[in-house]
């Protein structure tokens, strides 16, 4: 399954117009909302930190479209994209970044912990690797309960070096769990190039054989290519065929987090990847498949309007009441540790 061919012949369209438009829309929503978050950070309206996935949208979008509504997503602090791609509200995402009552977590979690159980977003985790075993547990639960739910777990290239990666992959493979592990290889951990800290070229794919899994590498900047691989891996998992490990090659346009200008990256490298921006190229593909410019423009206008509206709604939302500070440590809604 290595290096998926791009299927750009309009005569052989396995994806179809409706799905392509969904893929484009999802990428666009993520891009526009992330850029808005970036701007609002500069205005001091988005607080704390944020890890944008601008440049990496195709992966989250493709899986979001390929997954069923009952499926589970587990992602990282760079998870605004995966959260939006499952249908979480833009207001809920922006509101959480801004520390407002309308936030997905009511202001308790912040940018790095976006969660929306209603949409299958089972959490964004900020300790490297921790969510791989937890996602594996959700997959075990689906297998045990006999549902057809598939779990998709996203993480970065840097995450392949921590022990939890190995523990989770091994147990998922031994137990044949319905889970898809997706490594978004953006070539850097925080500031260190991944090539300096792993002894293999493909940090995830080259290790797949250790778990008896196929080595899968996909162009993470091509939503169609990711979508095809996603469908295949999700089907395998749903049919009881066990886990997959997919390495998607991509690049982040901004630095690691809001505090990082990303100056450690060679300008030629940045330029080359900006030229491979997944969104303009996907727009061009829509045209190749005969989708009219007016349809595309109308969608772009709609997405812009939705982001503007979410921004205004989030800005108008009150800050959280301090009454929630001592709520929900326990399932009874409280935080009592003594009588």
């Amino acid at each position: 399954m290595n290096d998926q061919q791009n299927n750009v012949s309009p005569d052989n369209d396995d994806i179809g117009e409706e799905t392509r438009l969904r893929l484009y829309r999802s990428q666009l929503e993520i891009r526009q909302l992330e850029n808005r978050a970036h701007d609002m950070f500069l205005e001091n309206l988005v607080k704390g930190t944020s890890h944008l996935a601008v440049g990496q949208e195709a992966i989250a979008a493709a899986f979001g479209v390929a997954m069923d509504s009952e499926d589970y997503t587990f992602c990282t602090y760079r998870g605004h994209a995966h959260t939006l791609a499952r249908g979480a509200s833009m207001t809920g995402v922006l509101g959480e970044l801004m520390g407002r009552q309308c936030g997905l977590l009511g202001g308790k979690g912040g940018s790095m912990h976006l969660t929306d159980v209603e949409h299958g977003v089972m959490g964004s985790y900020a300790i490297i690797g921790a969510h791989l075993p937890i996602a594996m547990g959700a997959a075990w639960s689906a297998q045990y309960r006999g549902t057809s739910q598939v779990t998709v777990c996203f993480f970065g290239d840097g995450t392949t070096t921590i022990g939890a990666f190995h523990e989770a992959l091994n147990m998922a493979a031994v137990w044949k769990l319905p889970i898809v592990f997706v490594c978004e290889n953006n070539l850097y951990m925080e500031y260190t190039p991944i090539g300096e800290v792993v002894p293999v070229e493909h940090p995830a794919a080259d290790r797949a054989s250790a778990y008896g899994l196929e080595s899968i590498i996909v162009d993470g900047n091509d939503a169609d290519a990711v979508y095809r691989i996603a469908q295949k891996a999700i089907k395998l998992a749903r049919d009881g065929g066990g886990p997959s490990l997919i390495e998607a090659k991509t690049y982040r346009h901004y630095g690691h987090s809001r505090a990082d200008p990303g100056t450690y990256r060679p300008p030629e490298e940045v330029e080359a990847w900006l030229a491979r921006d997944p969104i303009p190229s996907y727009r061009a593909r829509l045209a190749e498949f005969g989708i009219g410019e007016e349809v595309i423009e109308a969608m772009e206008t709609e997405v812009d309007a939705a982001v503007d509206e979410a921004t205004e709604t989030a800005k108008a939302s009150p800050i959280p009441s301090v009454d929630i500070i001592d709520k929900d440590v326990w399932a009874d809604g409280g935080c009592a540790w003594r009588n």
């Binding site: 300790i127 937890i134 075990w140 309960r145 779990t151 022990g163 540790w337």
Partner: protein
Amino acid sequence: MAKLTYREAVAAGIAQEMRRDENVVLIGEDVAAAGGVFKATVGLLDEFGPKRVRDTPIAEQAILGAAMGAAMTGMRPIAEIMFSDFLAVCWDIVANQIAKTRYMTNGQFEIPLVIRTANGGGSRFGAQHSQSVENWAMAIPGLKVVAPSTPADVKGLLAAAVRDPDPVIFFEHKALYATKGEVPDGEYVDELGKAKVLRQGSDVTIVALALMVPRALKAAELLESEHGISATVVDVRSLVPLDTQTIFAEVEKTGRLYTVEENPRLCGWGAEISSLVAEELFYDLDGPIVRITTPHIPLPAADNLEDATIPSVEKIVQTIRETAG
């Protein structure tokens, strides 16, 4: 009532809950076919089969991650960490993930899981297989912490832990597995957050946990018969939630508080109880609060060294004789 060992009571408690609720499952290293390295899960594989009683690889993060992911999605897993010392290799999953996720997500999840683990010394295993780490767990907001001292409490509190909607760390004491006691037949469920007064006295109140409970009881007998000191003994049983009301009531009656703790001295559970009593019961005290603990050292292995380290009956008697009155 049947007489069961502490280890049989573990299996009895798990079996009771597994019969009641098919979402209760057990995972851990060697828990299924081998029945556990302490033989506390013998018979469960036979009764419930390999789907519900599952051996895992040596992967503590995967064991607890699996339990958490399952608990978030409708199951009620019981996960065994063979020795409590090993919690250190999966502490992220315990302290950052299991404990915090409900709060961080504004209550979007319940995480009803039980982590069972063999805690404590007395087996000459050396410092990496003998620690009492209940105070580690107690320091983390979002975890309930239970440590039974008798077979009956094992069964009843384990059942309560499984039924509790929050994560519970259940510390079984290695040196108690072979002890025997009456355990109620049939369905038996206790309550988390309730201390038990095991002996009523008038001079001092001794508050103890797990292996320290039988030692405190023995010490109380000797104090009474040989030194004329009458001691109350309270088994704390549950560190979180903490039954301060029962403890306070007993300290008020005697005016003296002694804690007997197996955890090393600094930030041991008795420090929290001492501070609560000092803050809220100061004027009822007739003398200083005294903590009897393992010294602040890693545990040594040789018989005489380990025995000289963990609070013994003699140490409890001697300390109370020297400071009471």
